[in-house]
Amino acid sequence: MAVTEASPDQNEGNIFRPTGAVTIVRAGSISREIDNLPSPLTIDLGGVERMDTVGAWLIHRAVRDRGARVVGASPQFAGLMEQVAEADHPAPIRPEDQGGVVAELGAWVIDAGRTLWGLLGFFGATLLGFAALIRRPKRFRFNAVIQRFDLVGVRALGIIGLMSFLIGIVIGQQGAVQLQQFGAEVYTINLIGRITVRELGPLMTAIMVAGRSGSAFAAQIGTMKITEEVDAMRTIGVSPIEALVIPRLIASVVMMPLLSFWSMLLSIIGGGLLCWVALDIPPLTYVQRISEVVPATDLWVGLIKAPVFGFIIALVGCFQGMLVSGNAEEVGLRTTAAVVQSIFLVIVLDAVFAVFFQSVGWI
């Protein structure tokens, strides 16, 4: 361990005399010792055996800020100090200040507006793509669409079925507990039937599809953007809208009502199981009651909403994927944005639909 000493001297002021190693390992103590000595300061490097750039920087700092005098430096140490002195260009460390809450809010609003505008543009481009495809139907990518059917639809059956079944049980159980207080537990069937067919079936399916497929669309297309596959497609003359976006849109639009119907079915089965076990309503009676209390319009409401939700999910997913540029981090950000925005838009649209169907009398 090196020893340092400081001694006052009549002619030279205070002398700082480090010995041994003046390196990053001792940077903390050396800088403290230098700071503690009053000016005028002389630094005697005669006893130093090792020095690195951090040590040299500490000495340089004392010379620069306090006009310290350095004596006894070997040519090597002097050279090292010269090099750090040459590199003395203060650099900004932290990112520039963004300008507070108001600026952030403003940036957010502008960003949201741009996204919405961009989404509208993308919607237009997709419609044009569809129009072009109708004029030349031979270019329709049948295989790609079928493959998407499998990925978006068939492979989601398990998880959506399980989720819906459990939700049916939960709604049935909550309804039964509350309605029993009025002796109206038979209305649990109305609750299960109507809420799942009209609302929860399509909504929960949409959320699951957004999480499963919307995110996958954004990630797949985003990765293809980064690896320049999309650019390669364009140069070969293949329209990315036609090859990437339209098959996903079709798959999502076709599969959403089918999955929603599946979800309604499983929720009703789940609720029926609960009614049978907890309320002693036999399955046959349950099915009969369901067919009586759930009007056909409820089914239409559910099945009309589903493809619209599917369209929104695929549109937002593909749009965010196409927006990816630059690095891999962006893929993650865009994927998250795709899921959040599509679920948000689905819920907004659901509210719009609720008002609409009420005003046309399908209550």
Binding site: V25, A27, M51, V54, G79, Q83, A87, H89, P90, I93
Partner: protein, 265 residues
């Protein structure tokens, strides 16, 4: 201790990296078998080999990111295999690594990237002093001061490599690992980087372990070149001496049109 300007260099003879009988394998695929390599203190050693010969795997084994199947690895006189995390940390402090694409932390600015190793190993260094150290490291790596508060994504490829180098130099290492430092740089940028490494070696007394494909870099800055072929290091020598060897890959590599062009430059 990060000995940079050492007055007495008494162990100049012993290798700073010593690899013996190294075997690396992924499943059935053997990458290295019975590989030996010495890196001498103070030299710039270039490591070359065809694609897939395991240059990066060799570097990853030496720095402890890849556990070899068998063999011994000593770095700075310390055995590296089977060390506990704490012991390994003390050795890691003494080397710096520049990964192929810089491997900068994307959520931090360049200067904050440089500060990360210092904060990690020397928490007593804080405030102004820390910022000043980061600044001169950035400047020494040939970056303009304005690059300090930029994010890695805002930098060009060449600047990103320099920023990665600034972070690798943060703790004043004795040993520097560079993985294809000039790959993806334009010839002017690559030449600038070569000169930077040479001048830093002079200034900071570094030993450099350099993986490269760049023949110009090999001729310009390497003291010795290690050739990896047939799962081992087939030769380590100056380029002049390597040229005298009768190994097909070496002959093709250095005597191909590109090799001759680089030699003439």
């Amino acid at each position: 201790m990060p000995a940079v300007a050492t007055l007495a260099r008494n162990h100049a003879e012993e290798p700073i990296i010593r690899v013996r009988g190294l075997k690396n394998a992924f499943g059935d695929q053997v990458v290295h078998e019975n590989l030996d390599l010495d890196v001498r203190r103070g030299e710039i050693l270039g490591v070359v080999g065809g694609s897939g010969t395991g240059k990066s795997v060799l570097m990853r084994s030496i720095i402890g990111l890849q556990t070899p199947v068998e063999g011994e690895i000593e770095v700075l006189g310390e055995n590296m295999i089977g060390r506990s995390e704490d012991e390994a940390k003390n050795i890691r402090r003494r080397w710096g690594i520049l990964f192929q694409n810089g491997a900068l932390f994307s959520t931090l600015t360049v200067a904050e990237n440089v500060e990360v190793p210092i904060r990690e190993y020397f928490p007593v260094i804080q405030g102004d002093l820390l910022d000043e150290i980061a600044s001169y490291k950035i400047s020494m790596s040939g970056l303009p001061a304005e690059a300090g508060n930029k994010y890695p994504s805002e930098l060009s490829g060449g600047m990103r490599k320099r920023a990665g180098l600034a972070r690798a130099l943060a703790l004043d290492p004795e040993l520097l690992f560079l993985d294809e430092p000039t790959a993806g740089l334009d010839p002017i940028g690559a030449q600038g980087f070569d000169e930077l490494i040479l001048s830093l070696r002079e200034k900071l007394d570094l030993t450099v372990f350099l993986i490269t494909h760049d023949l110009d870099t090999l001729y310009a800055i390497c003291d010795r070149v290690a050739v990896i072929a047939d799962k081992k290091v087939v030769a380590v020598d100056t380029i002049d001496n390597l040229l005298k060897l009768d190994h097909p890959w070496i002959q093709e590599y250095f005597n191909g049109p590109r090799g001759r062009a680089a030699a003439a430059a």
